[in-house]
């Protein structure tokens, strides 16, 4: 028994040491790294990063172009458009970096997607957009893109605190047949290879993100479902309180990293 313990401890050391030799560790990542925090950008392959760096190559921009048209197009019974109440979309600079925020009327946290649907149903008397629709992904990307390069700056003070704590508990809770918590992969093992994937710190600062595997832009909550699925855990619905609180926790964890929307990832 004792001997096993020692052998395992040694094995643990070896795998920790392995983390130190990843080639990405020796690169100066500029604003993509803040102290120990590293954006998923810094773990991505050079080709993937190049695709993100070039706005003409980045497919996220196509979706945002469509959303820019929607921004100016009246919809719903009130005959209003986003532009009518908000003016230029540039006026939302900085906003996307602060979400989720506490929304008084609901008594809970609200994501950008939910804010947009609130404007649609209340302000415009229009139907809400589905979470993973091109309209919602494009508009969420467009809103967050106005904060590109600004540091994520999510508050967990005051009424947000209990929701942050729920998100934190979710993050450390093991789940699924594989019995793994988010923290097992994205804290304990960041930088190491999980088969063909380099595990990142699981930072959400680039969402909605164009994923090569999806061949499509996808929401953060789609990614969370994927991370639940891969440990064979029952995922939650997009927009569920569980994922909104989890988003609050991981966005706050990313505080200081730049908003990258729309990021490109593998």
């Amino acid at each position: 028994m004792r001997r096993i313990g020692i052998v395992l401890a040694a094995a643990g050391l070896i795998s920790v040491a392995g983390a130190g030799v990843a080639y990405t560790d020796s690169i100066d990542w500029g604003t993509y790294q803040v102290g120990d925090k590293r954006s998923g950008y810094t773990y991505a392959q050079p080709e993937t990063r190049a695709m993100q760096d070039d706005d003409f190559e980045n497919p996220g921009f196509l979706l945002m172009d469509q959303a820019a048209t929607l921004w100016e197009t009246p919809d719903g019974a009130a005959g209003k458009a986003c532009v009518g109440c908000h003016g230029d979309v540039e006026s939302l600079a900085g906003v996307g970096a602060t979400y989720p925020v506490y929304f008084e009327p609901w008594g809970k946290m609200m994501t950008v997607e939910q804010r947009i649907n609130q404007c649609r149903t209340e302000g415009m008397k229009a139907d809400p957009w589905k979470w993973e629709s091109d309209e919602m992904l494009g508009m969420t990307a467009l809103v967050k893109h106005q904060s590109r390069g600004m540091p994520v700056n999510v508050s967990i003070d005051g009424p947000a605190k209990p929701f942050y704590e729920k998100g934190e508990a979710f993050y450390y809770e093991r789940r699924g047949q594989l019995d793994l918590a988010c923290a097992n992969c994205h804290m304990d093992n960041a930088g190491l290879q999980l088969r063909a994937n380099t595990l990142s710190q699981g930072m959400p600062n680039g969402f909605p993100t164009y994923r090569l595997k999806w061949q499509k832009v996808g929401s953060l909550h789609r990614r969370l479902r994927g991370c639940n699925d891969q440990v064979r855990a029952e995922p939650y619905e997009r927009g569920s309180d569980e994922y909104v609180n989890l988003e609050l926790f991981i966005m706050h964890r990313a505080n200081g990293l730049p908003v990258e929307t729309p990021a490109v990832r593998n």
């Binding site: 313990g5 093992n189 999980l194």
Partner: protein, 157 residues
């Protein structure tokens, strides 16, 4: 063929814990074989049927089964992308015994509660398992035996 170990003082409470979970999991759930942990090992075979190293290698590689390469390097050069989350297993058969390997596979948290290695033959103590997998271990008892037999062949150079 060796006889399966009788329920022991260790295994009995485990079986009692499993019973309700299996009941809820539906008819498809396999009744897990009880086992006894002795000094960091499960000395007795789960099935009494000797493991088949070739089948074990296949189960270790299979992404829906062991998927060990997600986390470990193994001496299987025709498979690309070996993981780094756990230690290299190339010589594991030279320093861990059959029984130690078996416990490691069945439920590695009995050795290290903090480990990120899944328990491959357990259904209790898990949280929000997707419905499709509820009440089922990742590997069958015989697959565990096969993988143990394969690991025992890994002696390094």
């Amino acid at each position: 063929m060796r006889k399966r170990p009788l329920l022991t003082a260790v295994a009995l409470p485990l079986a009692l814990v499993l019973a309700p979970a299996l009941g809820a999991g539906g008819a498809a759930a396999e009744e897990l074989v009880a086992y006894e942990v002795v000094e960091g090992a499960i000395p007795a075979s789960l099935t009494g049927v000797p493991g088949d190293p070739e089948a074990g290698k296949a189960a270790a590689v299979h992404r829906q089964k062991g998927n060990c390469l997600a986390c470990h390097a193994m001496p299987i050069p025709d498979q690309p992308f070996h993981g780094e989350v756990g230690p290299d297993l190339s010589a594991v058969g030279s320093y861990l015994s059959e029984g130690e390997l078996r416990l490691r596979l069945v439920d590695s948290k009995k050795i290290n509660p903090e480990t990120s290695m899944p328990g491959f033959y357990k259904v209790e103590g898990l949280h929000r398992v997707a419905e499709k997998f509820r009440g089922k271990p990742i590997l069958t008892a015989q697959e565990v035996e096969d993988v143990v037999a394969y690991l025992l062949t890994l002696k390094g150079n």
